[in-house]
Amino acid sequence: MNFWGFSISEARVIDYDKNDKTLAQIMATEVPSSKLCIGCGGCTATCSAGNLTEFNIRKLQMLAKRGENKELQTQLHKCMLCGKCLLVCPRGVDTRRMIWSMLRFINS
């Protein structure tokens, strides 16, 4: 029983200094085109999974770049690897490969 009736909130802030950015580095090396994302959201707008679930590929890869990997664990497997995102990306990001790279990391 918590005597106080409340507990101290955890910070929501992205602590860039402390976050582990191993995945971000792997992604930059394995999929150099991933660095070209400008966050336009074309991928998410057309995403098969994203239209039915919370899966947001644009946001997930940005979180990964900041070392915020927690959400990937629960979301990434929702991707159906249909490749539509690849077709619409105006910057030529190899999104399918990027997802593979992230999946391999969280499964290892």
Binding site: W4, G5, F6, S7, I8, S9, E10, A11
Partner: protein
């Protein structure tokens, strides 16, 4: 931090603070949590600086707590504030000096609103007349009481009995200040040094021999936030704000925190106990906390007032180590005695926080 750079930025702006004849507006909570602060202020102004301050028993809360908690409507608070101005006018004063930064913010906001929307001033005059048959003049000068102490910081320095220095090492005490959001974040030009690098408290610290420490979360809110704190479910993020500040200031090993705002003083003092009980963490050396002083208490210590006379035994975080450092002679036995020498009882000891 390059203080010269900071001073350069503000050199063209100096806040106008009245010289004498202040109408005093007390804080609601300061007298409960830090009971000697307001008494010390009145005593310093009257007896050490020879100023006239009118402490009016008819003065009430400004209702700022209710206003910021969404239970007091703006018409009500304006009428209450108008009554304060009426009392000031009737007493023959023109300079109002609230001892609470929320009141200071409220007065500033209302005067500004009346300037921008004169119809609200007319409406308020009407409300006040209907409710009390009173009329008022707007204050000529509005200053927070810390502004007044800041103005006379050098006069106080000239009379000081103790310095903000460690008598054992001869080094200046390391002081972190906390200004409080309502002092200058709403109207930066109304605060000394603005909202970003406020000088009101650090100016006192420097004048009295201490060293002001600029730390990363210096400008962050203490987490009070009125309705946030008042609702128990929200207290978790209220305390998290104070925790963020403690974590940020701890590496600088501050000797004490000096505060501007009644609420902040309470939160920064009492939350250290709460955090220690919840998580076992303390922020001072050897299991102690970081002492928290109001600026009146700091001024009073410098001027040689007895620590127990100004109510320092009411603090959650023990100030005794600080008194030792400053070389203040005090009677440890008198800590829990009232002015008649009677025992007032001792608080229970916290689990982790050393007192």
């Amino acid at each position: 931090m390059n203080l010269e750079g900071k001073q350069q930025i503000w050199k063209d702006y100096q806040k106008d603070i009245a010289d004498d004849r202040y109408y005093y507006a007390r804080s609601c909570i300061r007298q409960t949590f830090f009971p000697g602060s307001e008494w010390a202020y009145l005593d310093i102004l009257g007896n050490k600086l020879g100023k006239t301050v009118f402490d009016d028993p008819r003065h009430t809360t400004c209702t700022g707590i209710g206003y910021h908690s969404d239970v007091v409507p703006v018409e009500t608070i304006m009428t209450v504030v108008a009554r304060h101005f009426a009392l000031m006018t009737e007493a023959g004063f023109e300079n109002i000096t609230p001892s609470c930064i929320t009141s200071f913010g409220i007065y500033t906001e209302i005067l500004h609103t009346w300037e921008q929307h004169p119809e609200w001033e007319e409406k308020t005059r009407d409300f006040l007349w209907k409710a009390t048959k009173r009329e008022f003049k707007k204050p000529k000068n509005l200053a927070h009481t810390s502004d007044v102490i800041y103005k006379f910081r050098n006069e106080i320095a000239a009379q000081k009995k103790y310095s903000l220095t460690d008598v054992h090492t001869g080094q200046p005490l390391r002081v972190v200040d906390h200004i409080g959001c309502h002092y200058a974040k709403m109207f930066p030009s109304k605060g000394i040094g603005g909202a970003e690098f406020p000088a009101v408290l650090s100016g006192m610290v420097n004048a009295w021999g201490g060293e002001s420490i600029d730390y990363p979360e210096r400008r962050h809110c203490c987490g009070f936030g009125f309705r946030n704190y008042l609702v128990m479910a929200n207290r978790g993020f209220s305390v998290a704000n104070s925790k963020k500040k403690f974590e940020s200031m701890q590496p600088y090993e501050p000797d004490f925190i000096v505060t501007n705002c009644p609420g902040c003083a309470m939160f920064l003092d009492k939350w250290q106990y709460t955090i220690s009980e919840m998580e076992g963490t303390t922020y001072g050396p050897n299991g102690y906390g970081i002492p928290v002083l109001t600026y009146e208490e700091m001024a009073a210590l410098v001027l040689g007032y007895d620590p127990w006379e100004i109510g320092l035994q009411m603090h959650q975080v023990s100030v005794d180590p600080l008194l030792e450092k400053m070389g203040i002679s005090y009677d440890p036995e008198a800590k829990y005695k009232n002015i008649r020498g009677e025992n007032i009882g001792r608080p229970q000891c916290p689990t982790y926080l050393k007192v």
